[in-house]
Amino acid sequence: MMTRHWPSRRHAGLLLLVLTACGGPARPGVRAGDLLLTDGFAYAPLDSAVGAAYVTIHNAGMAPDTLLDLSSPIAEGVMVHGGDMAGMGPAVVGAHDSLVFTPGGAHLMLMNLSALPKAGDSLALTLRFARAGTVTVRLPVRPYGTE
């Protein structure tokens, strides 16, 4: 008979879901299949050349998922940049793993903006995953700088 230790990697995923659903104040996030998108924001762009957006993608599923495509109505294109994702091959979020985009690390680059959202506005970002499908999040827009 196979013995499973608890919590196993599988349970860790379930735990994440449970904690997310019930733990204290609900963590703001958007669900897409096994994925949970949290901590999203964008910086208020200084000019139309480039903008930066961030999101953390948690995968509570048993299979890896791949971020295939990104878009935003205010950008001509959006791509994954930086971190270990040099060359912008598909960004993979492993099973029971997280893919983190954060300032100073990897980011989502918005190119050739048709609008300049200001701090306090929000910005729509659509992500298309191989398994979880397409999901749109609204990211709060923050000014550059930290108190």
């Binding site: 910086y43 200084l46 000019d47 050349a49 480039v50 903008g51 930066a52 294109g77 791509m79 940049h81 930086g82 971190g83 270990d84 040099a86 060359g87 912008m88 300032p103 100073g104 690390g105 990897a106 980011h107 680059m109 190119m111 000014p143 550059y144 700088g145 930290t146 108190e147």
Partner: protein
């Protein structure tokens, strides 16, 4: 870029550790929130060009002045604008006597896209007194080498205009003795600058 930043941070930290911290004198060296560089890094003897097209001799034209030196580029997603915004905001919170004495020099690692006009417009978002400097790639590479900062790493984009440039995330703080004694990493907040800049100009 994270990998590069880690490597640069590790190199600066290693340099600081290897070189030792024997002589702690000026307040900035002992109280600074950044990485202490001992002995301090001298300025590279290079000539750059400011956004008005005038030559800027990094060593001679800053002689005896306190200043912050950062290498970055205007298409930079976060590290550069966050540093610039934090420094600019901190300066507005400091007494004029301190503010007057701190120069901020921004050297582009992407002279192809950062024309003098682009650089000037971008810096004006933060503070019109910030000095924008350009140089050819050999001069920039040599400056970075002498300052123990990582070389620019071009990461291609979808076309010729969307590449990113990996670069050091540290701001070097030079004191009136013409040496950089502290490297402030990405993550330095406005309140950190408010605490540290007075020590830089009045050690």
């Amino acid at each position: 870029m994270a990998r590069l930043l880690t490597r640069v941070a590790a190199a600066v930290l290693a340099a600081a550790l290897v070189l030792g911290t024997a002589c702690r004198g000026a307040p900035l060296r002992s109280l600074a929130d950044g990485l202490v560089l001992e002995p301090g890094f001298p300025k590279p003897a290079v000539t750059l060009t400011d956004t008005e097209g005038r030559p800027f001799r990094l060593r001679e034209d800053t002689d005896g002045q306190a200043f912050l030196l950062f290498f970055g580029y205007t298409h930079c997603p976060d590290v550069c604008p966050v540093h610039m915004q934090n420094i600019a905001a901190a300066l507005t919170r400091l007494p004029p006597a301190v503010r007057r004495k701190v120069r901020v020099l921004f050297v582009t690692t992407d002279p192809a896209r950062d024309t003098p006009a682009v650089l000037r417009t971008w810096l004006d978002h933060f503070d019109p007194t910030f000095v924008g400097l350009r140089g050819d790639s050999v001069t920039i590479a040599e400056s970075l080498r002498q300052l123990h900062l990582g070389q620019p790493v071009i990461q291609p984009g979808s076309d010729d205009t969307t590449y990113t440039v990996g670069h050091s995330a540290s701001v070097l703080a030079f004191s009136s003795d013409n040496l950089a004694h502290v490297a402030f990493p990405f993550g330095t907040r406005q309140q950190d600058w408010v605490r540290n800049l007075p020590l830089l100009v009045d050690p």
